[in-house]
Amino acid sequence: MNSPETILVVDDEPQIRRFLRTSLAAQGYEVLEADTGQDALRQAVAGHPDLIVLDLGLPDMDGVDVLHRVREWSSVPVFVLSVRAREAEKVRALETGADDYITKPFGMAEFVARVKSALRRSGQGTAVSQPVFTVGALEVDLGRRVVRLNGREMRLSPKQYRLLQVLVANAGRVVTHHQLLHEVWGEAHTEDVQYLRIFVRKLRTWLEPDPTRPRYLLTELGVGYRLRSPDQFETC
């Protein structure tokens, strides 16, 4: 690795910034800090961060508005911090272009793993640049449109494959119900979440060793689905 990657941490709580700064610096990242939305926008321009960690509850601006402004000119990955029971806010942030979110309070091991995976995704453009995606026993060959589980080829319907394709392209991050429905079924069906549920159920019976305890295709309740990327692990 050449110069260290820079992470901009935006949170109005100094204690939160302190432990994020300490742990991210220990991982070898350069850390910038902002405590208001205005300051965040300034530093996002001046500091050329490789990733922004953005708390949604800022004193001067709505965090989603900050994200919106950043997205007008930059595709830098944005990692959103949110509090419990604000699912609508998470969905809004994801649809405004956030790459991932984590709910406060969170453990550092998981946070760092997800920061790394967001940086890696942005580093390689999109995940699709790798023609074969592998997680656990699941293998999706995007070039040849073939899905294998434990080396055995699976037969998927076109819509099932399309759904998997969208999830693979976004591997590691949450894709909202709305985004998935839009991609797979089109504009007319973006509210038909039950279509999606039924398809996910079918996909799981194909892909998961135990569909009732999914290991690859994870439900983010009330938000969407996440296909686990190879470097993601569940921590305790």
Binding site: Q160, R197, T212, L218, G222
Partner: protein, 365 residues
Amino acid sequence: MNAQIPSVSRVAKHYGGAAGTVAIAGLIAAAITVFVPQPRVSVLFLCAVLASAALWGVGPSIFAALLGAAVAAFFFYPPIYNFGVDNPQDLLDLVVFAVAAVLIGMLSDKVRRIAAVMEDARVRAKTDELREALLNSISHDLKTPLASIIGSATSLQSFGTLYDAKTRADLIATIREEAERLNHFIGNVLDLTRIRAGDLTPRFEIVELADIVDSALRKAACLLASHDVRVSLPDDLPMLRLDLFLMEHALINLLENAAKFSPNGSRIDVTAETAGRDIRLTIRDRGIGIPAGDVPHVFSKFYRGETNDAKPAGSGLGLAICRAFVEANDGRVEALSNGEGQGAVFRVTLPAADAAYSELMVADE
């Protein structure tokens, strides 16, 4: 309760009722006159006044008194069919009746006011009791983990260099575990506040039980890490119409409860079945069970079971919240136990969504 402003129609109803009691008294008096000439009918009218006072208060009772006096004078005291009263004895009778009736009306009103004040005091006392219990619980459940956190952190700060790696790791683990306990407790208190504020308007969606179970298991993964959790859900369960978050939360609380009251390494089973138009979800642990007499109380606020080993006691809120959340989803939750040492079973019954949704197996292209 006390400061009710009676509506016009209610007032009319009360006075009508008072007139009705007088009419009934009059009819009975008339029937008696057939057998007994010149009865002391005023006693009957007094009964009408008493009834009006008890049922409708001072106004209607005085109205009944005046009406009763008029009816007695007109129909029963000679000259009959005339408001005049000839016999001085009868006149005295009527006056005594009227005075007694008005006194009764006023007394009854006083009794009602006293009853209202007492009811008020009782409700207030009960609220105070609840507030007290909540405050006690909060100060205990906040202070205990905070004491461990501050103790461990200051100990690391002041003497960290003197400890070996294991001691330091223990202290750090304590800080973390206690902080998580604090977080969990605060979540419970917030939920309880939501329930108490009547702010439990479920956002119903058509969902699969498996999704909720999966999400709850992942969120409770740390609590369940030292248990052997086995899930068995049939593939063909109908869809449910639920508020995802309320139900997920109810489930997390049940799983947490199972983990807390059963030994590490023991098995917890999560199963589901269709029961008529309902879905029944069962969580069974192999823990200490519930003493028979306590089964009806496990869902009460501040009921705390005894944990047998070093596990911290709960806040006594988890199951109360669970029940409130399940009921907000039109479901039921019940506790079953064969007694102490026999494990506990919690059964949640939820109505299935309309069959139309379950059969909506969208044509795949």
